[in-house]
């Protein structure tokens, strides 16, 4: 057993480090400049470090999938605070286009998306179609060589910064629930589209409502077959995700908590010396270690093509519950400051709220429980759900 990636990867890690050392920070020292970022991403892509699953002719680096290499690249970029080539807006559209798009769609959209010239919003959720996405009602009619779109989307992340939307619409009103849906690409900088921000309980604005009022998109902006949009959404990048990077957030939140527990005084001593706080902190650490090392285990199994087992359905719910537990302990430590939104502990008050968004976004915790029940434990389907949900 070993927790590192092993000797065969040491040389690769050194290469990545050398490359980053030569290119970042940039020569003029300006870390914020978009030009510098763009130059770095282009150079790193040429070296095969970024956009690894995307073919060269669409601006990617076309590398064989290798979870270990991908993870090392992520680690080294994070350490150096170098740009990671994250696709602005919603990068999900790229794998979808690679799998289902026409040659023309791929040529027109993928490279500009990687460069950040086109920024996407995801138009899936609607006010009455959340977890039950197939109930969506936004409709598109083909009139001549154009689709005419009417309806509303909601929870659309960063729509106010986006140029385009990939969108699920109902094109066959008479077809059964899942069968009448198509996948369209829409330029949202047009008079028929209105974007209205939603204010969250934390006062932040990340999501929007998007209204379509006779909005238009050309007929050839249909991805995949008409009426087969449900299947089109189910493509993901050739998988190089290990879950290790998604744990970083929980780990850093926990480290912050320990730091704060040492700083805050209660009854004349640091809070961390209070046995109740201390024991709960250790209990949280035990959960965090479980998550951490099960993730390493899952990554190793993945790299060696072995079955991971039910754990692969669990990280999201586990992290959600852990974040809630961390927030509650933070609350117990800050006590009176818990109601001071203008004070030094605002970050923890916000986290107390933000941790709730984890139990909603990307499939509510109860939806996660159904996924674990069915895909993790092999229980029969929840009979209250329609087919294909």
């Amino acid at each position: 057993m070993e927790l590192g990636f092993g000797a065969e990867y040491d040389a690769f890690r050194q290469e990545v480090r050398d490359f980053i050392g030569q290119h970042w920070p940039p020569a003029d020292g300006n870390l914020k400049s978009r030009e510098n970022e763009r130059a770095f991403v282009i150079a790193a892509t040429e070296r095969g470090y970024l956009h690894r699953a995307i073919p060269k002719r669409f601006g990617g680096s076309e590398q064989a999938a290798d979870i270990g290499k991908a993870e090392i690249i992520r680690e080294e970029l994070t350490k150096a605070r170098a740009p990671a080539g994250r696709i602005p807006g919603n990068g999900l559209v790229v794998p979808t286009l690679l799998e289902w798009g026409t040659e023309d769609q791929k040529d027109r959209f993928i490279a500009p998306t990687l460069r950040g010239d086109i920024v996407w919003a995801q138009g899936f959720s609607e006010p009455n179609a959340g977890s039950d996405l197939a109930s969506l009602r936004t409709k598109a009619e083909l009139v001549g060589d154009k689709w005419i779109i009417n309806g509303q989307k909601i929870w659309t992340t960063h729509a106010h910064k986006a140029t385009h939307m990939f969108c699920l619409v109902r094109t066959e009103p008479d077809a059964p629930k899942h069968a009448g849906i198509s996948y369209l690409l829409i330029d949202i900088r047009q008079p028929g589209v209105t974007v209205r921000p939603l204010v969250q309980m934390t006062r932040q604005k990340e999501f929007n409502e998007v209204f379509f009022d006779n909005a238009e998109t050309p007929a050839d902006m249909l991805v995949g077959e008409r009426g087969r949009g449900w299947n089109v959404t189910r493509s993901t990048l050739k998988h190089e995700r290990s879950g290790i990077s998604s744990m970083t957030w929980s780990l850093s939140m926990f480290r912050d908590l320990v730091k704060m527990a040492k700083e805050v005084e209660r009854d004349g001593a640091p809070a961390i010396k209070d046995p109740r706080i201390r024991e709960e902190l250790a209990a949280i650490e035990g959960q965090l270690m479980s998550l951490t090392y099960s993730t390493y285990r899952a990554t190793s199994h993945d790299m060696h093509d072995r079955d991971i087992g039910p754990f692969q359905t669990m990280p999201k719910l586990y992290m959600t519950e852990l974040a809630g537990r961390i927030s509650r302990l933070a609350r117990d430590i800050i006590e009176d400051d818990f109601t001071d939104m203008g004070g030094a502990r605002l970050k923890w008050i916000e986290r107390f709220m933000i941790s709730l968004s984890m139990s909603i976004a990307g499939g509510t915790s109860n939806i996660q429980r159904n996924i674990i029940a069915e895909r993790g434990l092999g229980l029969p389907r929840d009979r209250s759900q329609g087919a294909g949900a």
Partner: protein, 358 residues
């Protein structure tokens, strides 16, 4: 990254599991569990496991063993936990760890080959009551003959050799020395435990006992955690299987959301904890700086989880789960012993906090 079991380890597990499936099924465990009078162990199963080389796992090759490490011991502990195997493995394995780590060449040569072959049985004595389990808390002294009491000693009555935690380190006490044993009704009749009263017993100190006793305690914590994982995982499987076949209102109860979510919570508590106990075993073998903290965390988290999962298991089975003839209470009683033996989760959490430097 290689955080997985090797082919050799998987092969070891397969061969042991084949034997357990055959010789340690539920009926057999119940038969041992239900013996009138004091709890006994399954001597036939123990002999069969010894023939397979189970006790030899950690014994160095020089003394006729397999020379394997803590990860190998821990995955075996997991398997024995899953089958609720009524064999005196835990104490025996830990006595071997103690002698292999802390014994002189002569002590190793004298004891390890026979322990590896399963010719004689050994155990370990740590607890002194009121939550005192750890080396710093040991009051018993080896000076001038051993006097005092150790609690919850696995299979002390049957043991030929006891490794006793003392203020001076670790002491070997052979059968026939001045001590008496009293079998305790601990609930867990698959792993009998005794109170041992030493009355001036003759001892021999392990040469490096003082230096290795903390590491021995970490090993005990890892093996208990592994047992807890094996048992908890088995309980989740048992509950899921039952929910699929038990019907009410004309359908399997697995279709009812309330119960489904309970099963999910059990699995969510159990499955990720595997990584923690693996890490603790791996740290014991390879990461000396991290080993004590990881062992304390594993002991605390896994035994807490196991006990809760066994409670949920009884609930998931309804009335049948509360009967003597079912397996649920056997696992619950093992979980109770795992929770208490070597110190409660709360104590180990506070120890983990100290070790983390908080």
């Amino acid at each position: 990254m290689n955080f997985l079991l090797s082919d050799d380890q998987l092969a070891l597990l397969t061969s042991i599991e084949d034997l357990l499936r055959d010789r340690c099924d539920s009926l057999r465990v119940h038969k041992i569990f239900d013996v009138e009078g004091e709890a006994q162990y399954d001597s036939e199963l123990w002999a069969a496991l010894a023939d397979m080389g189970l006790p030899a796992i950690f014994v160095p090759e020089e003394q006729g063993g397999l020379g394997l490490g803590m990860v190998d011991l821990a995955i075996v502990a997991e398997l024995l936990g899953a089958y609720a195997a009524p064999v005196p493995w835990l104490g025996h394995a830990l006595a071997i760890v103690a002698i292999a780590l802390g014994g002189s060449d002569a002590q190793k040569a004298k004891w390890l080959p026979r322990l590896a072959a399963g010719e004689i049985l050994a155990t370990v004595a740590f607890g002194e009551g009121k939550g005192a389990w750890l080396p710093g808390e040991w009051q018993l002294s080896a000076a001038g003959g051993l006097i005092g009491t150790k609690l919850l000693v696995p299979n002390a009555a049957e043991a030929d050799l006891i490794v006793v935690g003392v203020a001076e380190g670790l002491a070997l006490v052979e059968k026939g020395a001045a001590y008496s044993t009293q079998r305790i009704d601990s609930g867990d009749r698959t792993r009998p435990v005794d109170t041992v009263v030493f009355d001036g017993a003759e001892i021999e100190l392990l040469t490096d006992g003082l230096a290795v006793r903390d590491r021995l305690i970490d090993a005990a914590a890892v093996l208990i955690a592994a047992d807890a994982f094996g048992g908890a995982e088995r309980c989740v499987t048992m509950s899921v299987d039952y929910a699929r076949v038990r019907e009410q209102y004309g359908q399997p109860v697995a279709g009812f959301q309330g119960l489904r979510y309970q099963l999910v919570e059990m699995a969510l508590a159990t499955e990720p904890a595997r990584g923690l106990y693996w890490y603790a075993a791996h740290a014991w073998d390879a990461l000396p700086e991290k080993a004590a903290h990881a062992a304390a965390q594993a002991k605390a988290h896994l035994t807490d989880t196991y006990l809760q999962v066994t409670r949920d298991t009884v609930e998931a089975h309804g009335g049948i789960g509360f009967t003597w003839e079912h397996d649920t209470h056997i696992y619950m009683k093992r979980a109770m012993l795992d929770w208490a033996w070597l110190g409660s989760p709360g104590r180990h959490r506070l120890r983990a906090a100290d070790l983390a430097g908080w």
